[in-house]
C-alpha cells in the first residue's frame, strides 16, 4: 500500500496528458475545426440591450442582413487586443457587429466602450452566461458570421486579426458588400 502511494503522481499525470491530448485534437487550429452551429440557424434569443436600457435585442430584429456576432467582456484581455480590429471593421462599413456582453457588469461594459470606442451596432447583455452557452462559446472573444437567413456561416475563435478578416470573413460575404475594406495588410 505504501508503495502504491508513490504511483499517484504518475497516474494523475497520465490523466492530465489524456485531457491535453484531447485538447490538442479538438482545437489544434481553431479556425479549421468547425462549430456544430455552422450551417444551422443561430440560437434564438431576446436579451436586454446594453446601450438602451429597457429595450431588447432579439434574433428577429437581426434577420434580413449579414452580421458578425461577437462574444466579449471587459474582463477578457484578448478582447482588448481585438478592439482596434473591431473598430476598423466598423469603419469599413462592410458588416455590422452585434456584441454579446458576456458575464459582465453592464456599468463596466459601458465605461469600457466609452473609453475605447464602441464598434458595435447593438449589444445584448448576457450577465449569467446562459446565452453564450447556447452559442457554444469556449471563451471570449469568439465571433460568428451569420447570414440574412439567420444561418451561422463561420466561427472564429480568438481575437480577429487582419489576416482572419481578409482571408476568412471577407471572402464569405456576397461580392456586393465587399468594397476595399481594411485596406492595409
Amino acid at each position: 500500500m505504501s508503495r502504491l502511494r508513490f504511483i499517484i503522481p504518475l497516474v494523475v499525470f497520465a490523466l492530465l496528458v489524456a485531457v491535453l491530448g484531447i485538447g490538442i485534437r479538438q482545437s489544434p487550429d481553431k479556425n479549421i475545426i468547425p462549430s456544430p452551429l455552422i450551417g444551422k440557424p443561430a440560437p434564438a434569443f431576446s436579451l436586454p440591450n446594453l446601450i438602451e436600457p429597457g429595450q431588447r435585442v432579439s434574433t428577429a430584429q437581426l434577420r434580413g442582413h449579414w452580421y458578425l456576432f461577437n462574444i466579449w467582456g471587459t474582463w477578457c484581455v484578448e478582447c482588448r487586443v481585438e478592439q482596434p480590429m473591431l473598430l476598423k471593421i466598423k469603419q469599413s462599413g462592410v458588416i455590422p457587429l452585434v456584441g454579446l456582453d458576456w458575464r459582465d457588469d453592464p456599468n463596466d461594459a459601458l465605461s469600457y466602450l466609452k473609453q475605447e470606442g464602441d464598434p458595435y451596432e447593438t449589444i445584448a447583455v448576457d450577465q449569467d452566461g446562459s446565452e453564450a452557452i447556447m452559442w457554444g462559446a469556449y471563451g471570449a472573444p469568439e465571433t460568428f458570421l451569420v447570414n440574412p437567413q439567420g444561418i451561422v456561416v463561420y466561427k472564429y475563435i480568438g481575437p480577429i486579426t487582419e489576416e482572419a478578416w481578409q482571408r476568412e470573413i471577407l471572402p464569405r460575404l456576397p461580392l456586393a458588400s465587399t468594397p476595399a475594406a481594411g485596406s492595409s495588410s
Binding site: 505504501s2 508503495r3 508513490f6 504511483i7 503522481p9 504518475l10 499525470f13 497520465a14 492530465l16 496528458v17 489524456a18 485531457v19 491535453l20 491530448g21 484531447i22 485538447g23 490538442i24 479538438q26 482545437s27 489544434p28 487550429d29 481553431k30 474582463w75 484581455v77 484578448e78 482588448r80 487586443v81 482596434p84 480590429m85 473598430l87 476598423k88 458576456w102 458575464r103 465605461s111 466609452k114 473609453q115 475605447e116 470606442g117 452566461g129 453564450a132 452557452i133 457554444g136 462559446a137 469556449y138 471563451g139 471570449a140 475563435i157 480568438g158 487582419e162 492595409s184
Partner: protein
Amino acid sequence: MIPELGQFALILALLLAALQAFFGIVGPALKRDRWMAAVTPAVTGQFVMVATSMGCLVTSFINNDFSVRYVAENSNSALPLFYRVAALWGAHSGSLILWIFLLACWSIAAAVGTSRLPRAFASRVIGVLGVISFGFLLYTLATSNPFLRLDPPWPDGESLNPILQDPGLAGHPPILYTGYVGLAVAFAFAGAAMLEGRLDRDWARWTRPWTTAAWAFLSCGIALGSWWAYYTLGWGGFWFWDPVENASFMPWLMATALIHSLAVTEKRGLFKSWTLLLAVLAFSLSLVGTFLVRSGVLVSVHSFAASPSRGEFILTFLVLMIGSALALYAWRAPLLKSEAGFELTARESFLLFNNILLVTACATVFAGTIAPLISGALHLGKLSVGPPYFNPTFLLSILPLLALLSVGIHASWKRGNLGNRARILMLTLIAAAVLGCAVVFGLFTGGRVLSPIGIGLGIWIILSSLIDPIDRLRRHISIPRAVLGMTIAHIGLGIFVISITSVEAFTAEQDVALARGSTAQLGAYEFRFEGVSPIEGPNYSGVGGTVVVTHDGAPVAVMHPEKRKYWVQQTVTTHADIRMYRVSNVLVALGQDLGDGRWSLRLQVRPLVSFIWLAAFIMATGGMLAISDRRYRLARAPSPASAAVPPAVVTRGEAG
C-alpha cells in the same frame, strides 16, 4: 550566410546535447570514468554552439535581414535598435531560442557549480540537463526553425506587435525564462538523486541555492510581466489570471513550496520523497506552462501563434520527460527513509502546512486554468472561469498560510515549543491588528471585511520577521546571510500583502468626459484637462493630451496620456500616463474623441500599487542574499556541525 551559420550551430548543439545526455547518464551507470569525463566538454560545446546560434539571429535582426522569415515577420527597418533586438523573443521561434540559450547558461553554471561534488552525481545532473536541451533543440529544429529564408526577401518587415514595443517587454521574458528554465537545475538534481537511488541531507544543501536562484528570477519575471500589463494595457489591471500568467505563477508556487521543504530535508533529513516530488513538479509545471502557451489549446493575450504539430511535439516531450521522472519517482521514492520524527507544533509541522497550502493554491490555479480544457474534452458543456473563481479559491489557501507564517518562523525544530517568543509574538499580533484596523478605518474609509485582515496580517508578518534579527543584534550574535535573506523575503511578502490589500480596497477610479479647460475631481485629486495635440514617434504618430493634476491645491504632475497609431500595423494603442504621488499611483488614460474638443478620460488613483512589484523584488533580493550564505560555498565540507551545538540554537530562523 549568417542565418545558415546559425542553423548549422543549432544542429551541432543538438548533437552535443545528445552526447551530453548519453555520457552524463550512461557513464555513471556503467561506471566508465572516461565517459563521465566527456560530459564537461560536451556541455561546454553545446553552450558555445547555442550562443553562436543566438548571436546569428540577433545579427540578422540588427542588420534588418528581411530574407529571414522570422525577422521579416517580427521586425521592421523603422523599429529602434533596442526593439529590433527585443523582437527576437517577440514570437514563438525566437523565444524558444532564448529558452534554449538560457538553459545552456544554466547548464554551464551547473557544470561549474557541481565540479566539486561527487563525480557520478555531477555527471548525472548534467546528463539530465542534456536530455532537456536535446528535447528543446529537436523541437526548435523540427517545428519552429527561426532561420528559414524567404525567397524573394521582403522589402521591409511586418514589425513587432505594438503592444510589445515597450521596455517592460524587453526585460520581462528573459528574466521570466531564466526563472522557468532555472527550475530545470532542481529537476536535474532530483533526477540525479533518483537515478542514484540515494538522497541525503547534503543533496538538499546542494539543491537549495539553485532552487532559490531560479525562484528569485521567477519572482522578478512575474513582477515585470505584471508591471508591463499594468501600464501597456492602459487599464490599471495588473493581474488577470490569464492562462499564461498562471503558467508562470504555478511553477512559482511550487518553487516556493520546494524552497521550504528543502529546508526541512537539509536540517532534519525529513520530507525526502516529498521534496523530490516537488522538485519534479516545479519544472514539470514550467513545461506544462510552455505547452499551454505554445500549443494553442488555450487562448491568451500573451499566446504565440499556434500550430497542431507544435502542440503534439511538446505533448510527446512532456510525456517522455515528466512521465519518466514520475515513473522513476514511483520506483525510487519508497526507498527513502526519514531520519527522525517531530512533534505536532514543531517547525516541521508549520513547514508541512506551508507546503500543503502552497500546493493546494497551485492546484486550484491549475484546475481553473485547465477547466475549459477538461470540460471540452469530456463534452460537459462549456465552462468559463475568471477572477470570480480564482480570487476566492486562491485566498482560501493563502490566508491561512499568511496567518501561520508569523508563528511558524519562531517555532523550534523537532520540539513544539515557542519558548519566550510566545509573549512577544502575541504583542506583535495585537500591534498588527490595531495598526491594520487603524489603517483601514482611520486613514481610509469604506474598507471591506477582508481589508483590515489583509493589512493586519501583512504588518504581523513584517513585525514578527523582525523579532529574531533584532534579538540577535541586541545579543551581538552575527546574523547568517541565510537568515537575513529569509527575513528580507518574508518582509517583502508582508509588504506585498499590505499593498495588494490596499489596492483592492482603496482604488478610486472614474471615467469622465472633459472639454478643454474643465476639471474633474477624484477624492482629494483634481484633474484639469488642457486639450490634445499631435505627437510624432519613431514609428508611430498620434495625439497626446495634457492633464494638470493637483492634490488639495498642491501640484502633483502635468500628465501626458497618449493614443498612438503605429504605421505598419495601423493599430491604435492607448498609452496611459502613470505618475507616483506620495505612495499612490495616479493614472490618466485618453479615451475617445467625443467632438467639440471633448475627450473621454479614465482617471484612477491606486494607493501602494507600485509596492506590489517592489515587494516582489524585495523577495527576490532576500533569495539572492540567502544563496550567498557561506555554507553553500563550502560545497564539500561535512554538513554543519549540528552535533556539537544543540540544534534549536543553531537553526532557529534558518528556514529560508
